[in-house]
């Protein structure tokens, strides 16, 4: 992975010092909370319902075991013994004291980490395909470009006060989008043009939140050397013309929709012609320099080995885990392993300090000392010898992380919701815990197959409910929590936005409703090969409305 040089190190340590000064000035009364707020936000420090929350950037989700041990240490020393992995491939601490945060930033800087721009109206953490570098269907590893973008976006002087936050995702696999690039402010897909040259397809204006929109292509093929200057121009057009009068209409997607993609493109190209200089071109040598940090590890030359043998073996728990959580690797004899952070009884994405330490050890022992945070709030050990899967599974079970539910209905994406979040309207975590408990039967999970359930506690959609095959959105009705049920969303190449099934459901109705939807699917699917999403797309909503509301009549179902 990328290693800081003196430049990177100075930038991050000076930032930590600067924040220490800002905290001192806040505590002494030199600056007000209103003035401090944007400063702390640009450093990832929110204030939630019960405490501050520090969001630490995990650039493109990649962590070394050394970093994971540091994260464990921070959880133990300055927080309450756990951290929470987020849908932005980051980690959050829910209980830091303001007075400790400068020291936490120093600790992070010592392992080349930071909390820069994990909040605020600026370019946020760059996210990527969590199987980057090892996917069989990948055209090119996106991580070098993510790192180049990380540096470009860090303290970009012109874009520190954008109309609203800005998220960029990159994938190097044209055939399968695991980074939800169509739901980002900018999505980048590495593609090959007719002449066989590599470049980027640039999508713009996607997003979730209050107004879910699928991004559109602003440029079909952008040569690599123009990568940064073109993105500069997109940001500049947005910075100058994005709405600033209404924060709910301030994202770039609203600007793109208002102008139309053609006019937006014209403005970007016009700015680009006026602003690009030869100096801004990204030299091949720089791409090569950064790419070298992501060179494949020292794989052994192993015979191809098919894990099916393990799946069909006597140990059913291991078999299910291999079947559901192990992913094919481009190198023979190796596999990628999804560590499900959806343990029964624990909030999705939460990992304790002792688990983090243990995971760091497993990464060292089984996977060249690295792991990846996924936007589905799981972890991936990317380079595990297939022959060592049973040993790894045994170790994971020992630390309660051996759940065999990747991509299944209990692998739920959940935002923190009203248990922690200042913006939430309803709780999400208790709901996901209830769903996991209700469906805690491996045969049922396997029978239902790949279904994504995504829960957000408010319209801001941190739980990605719009792109859940089943999406749940918490709303507030005069101080009481209610939930809307949505069906049909998908974040990938077949992107679609889920639609509301019917009237909002009370807290004691919603899990029953999910069960009714799943049971109906099992009875009406054409075969066990037809995925839930495909059934919904084939039959529409009526059978599910009948299942949940007893009627497909819009008045009965009360579509809102």
């Amino acid at each position: 992975m990328y290693q800081y040089d003196d430049y990177d190190r100075r930038i991050i340590t000076e930032r930590a010092q600067q924040f220490r000064g800002q905290v001192t000035r806040r505590l002494s009364g030199e600056i007000t909370e209103d003035e401090f707020k944007p400063l702390r936000l640009q450093n990832g420090l929110y204030r939630q319902l019960h405490a501050y929350m520090l969001r630490v950037a995990v650039p493109y989700g990649l962590l070394s075991s050394t970093q994971v041990r540091k994260l464990a240490h921070i959880a133990r020393t300055y927080d309450r013994g756990y951290g929470h992995f987020t849908t932005r491939q980051n980690i959050q601490y829910n209980w830091p004291k303001l007075t400790d945060v400068p020291t936490i930033l120093d600790e992070l800087a010592s392992v080349e980490m930071h909390a820069v721009q994990t909040s605020g109206n600026c370019v946020r953490n760059i996210t990527a395909d969590h199987f980057a570098g090892i996917a069989r269907d990948e055209l090119e590893d996106p991580r070098p470009y993510c790192e180049i973008l990380r540096q470009w976006s860090t303290f970009h002087p012109e874009f520190a006060h954008l109309p609203r936050k800005f998220k960029i995702a990159v994938t190097g696999t044209p055939g399968e989008d695991r980074a939800a690039v169509r739901f980002h402010d900018i999505g980048l897909r590495i593609v090959e043009n007719a002449r066989g040259e590599r470049g980027f397809e640039v999508l713009v204006g996607g997003g979730m939140g209050r107004t879910p929109i699928i991004g559109e292509v602003v440029r079909e093929f952008l040569p690599k050397k123009h990568f940064l200057s073109y993105i500069d121009s997109i940001l500049r057009v947005y910075n100058l013309h994005g709405r600033r009068d209404n924060k709910y209409k301030a994202r770039i997607k609203i600007l793109v929709a208002a102008l139309g993609i053609d006019e937006f493109r014209r403005r970007v190209e016009e700015d680009w012609e006026a602003s690009r200089t030869p100096e801004l071109e990204l030299p091949d040598a720089e791409i090569a320099r950064v790419a070298a940090f992501f060179a494949p590890p020292a794989y052994e030359s192993l015979p191809a080995s098919d894990p099916t043998r393990i799946v069909l073996g006597k140990d059913r728990e291991l078999g299910n885990w291999v079947r559901n959580n192990v992913v094919a690797h481009k190198v023979p004899g190796y596999s990628a392993v999804i560590i499900s952070v959806k343990q029964k009884g624990t909030p999705p994405g939460d990992v304790s300090d002792t688990q983090m330490d243990a995971i760091a050890g497993l990464a060292d022992r089984f996977s060249f000392g690295h792991l990846v945070v996924t936007h589905t709030q799981n972890l991936v050990l990317t380079d595990v010898k297939t022959s060592e899967l049973p040993a790894l599974h045994a170790e994971l079970r020992r630390i309660d992380l051996g759940e065999a539910n990747a991509n299944k209905i209990t692998d739920i994406i959940t935002c923190p919701g009203l248990d922690y979040c200042d913006l939430a309207n309803a709780r999400s975590i208790p709901l996901s815990l209830e769903i996991s408990e209700r469906f805690d039967r491996i045969d049922y999970l396997n029978d239902v197959g790949d279904v994504s359930i995504k829960i957000s506690g408010c319209i801001n959609a941190c739980g990605h409910h719009h792109v859940g095959n089943i999406g749940i959105l918490g709303i507030d009705k005069r101080g009481v929590e209610f939930y809307q049920l949505m069906l049909g969303g998908s974040p990938g190449n077949d992107a679609s936005i889920g639609k509301i099934l019917g009237r909002a459901l009370a807290q004691d109705e919603i899990v029953d409703a999910v069960e009714k939807v799943l049971d109906r699917y099992l009875t009406i699917r054409e075969s066990s090969d037809e995925r839930f999403l495909d059934t919904v797309r084939r039959v529409g909503f009526d059978p599910f409305k009948v299942a949940v509301y007893g009627s497909a009549d819009p008045l009965e179902a009360g579509a809102e």
């Binding site: 009364g29 019960h50 009203l418 922690y420």
Partner: protein
């Protein structure tokens, strides 16, 4: 109908409630009851301006009193008063 003034402590972000004597408590039970929303709003605004170093972002909330116990009305304020409804690893 009663109101209390709530905020968050600057130092650790914890929930704060204004006592009758103007100091800040960590428990809703210690909050000073106000019978006028206008006064509660006024106190919140003044506190936000003048007591920045100790607390931030004060605002009034309406509460119920049952058998002498102060109860927040909305789900949000109940969770603020009592903490997350799910288990936290280490309560501290």
């Amino acid at each position: 109908m009663f109101w209390v003034v709530t905020a968050n402590f600057t130092e650790d972000g914890a929930v704060a409630y204004r006592r009758s004597d103007g100091t800040w408590a960590r428990a809703l039970a210690e909050a000073g009851l106000l019978d006028s929303e206008a006064i509660a709003k006024e106190l919140a605004t003044t506190a936000t301006q003048r007591e920045q170093r100790e607390i931030s972002d004060a605002y009034p909330i309406q509460i119920d009193v049952e058998n002498g116990v102060i109860l927040a009305q909305s789900a949000r304020e109940r969770i603020r008063a009592n903490g997350p409804t799910i288990r936290v690893r280490r309560p501290d």
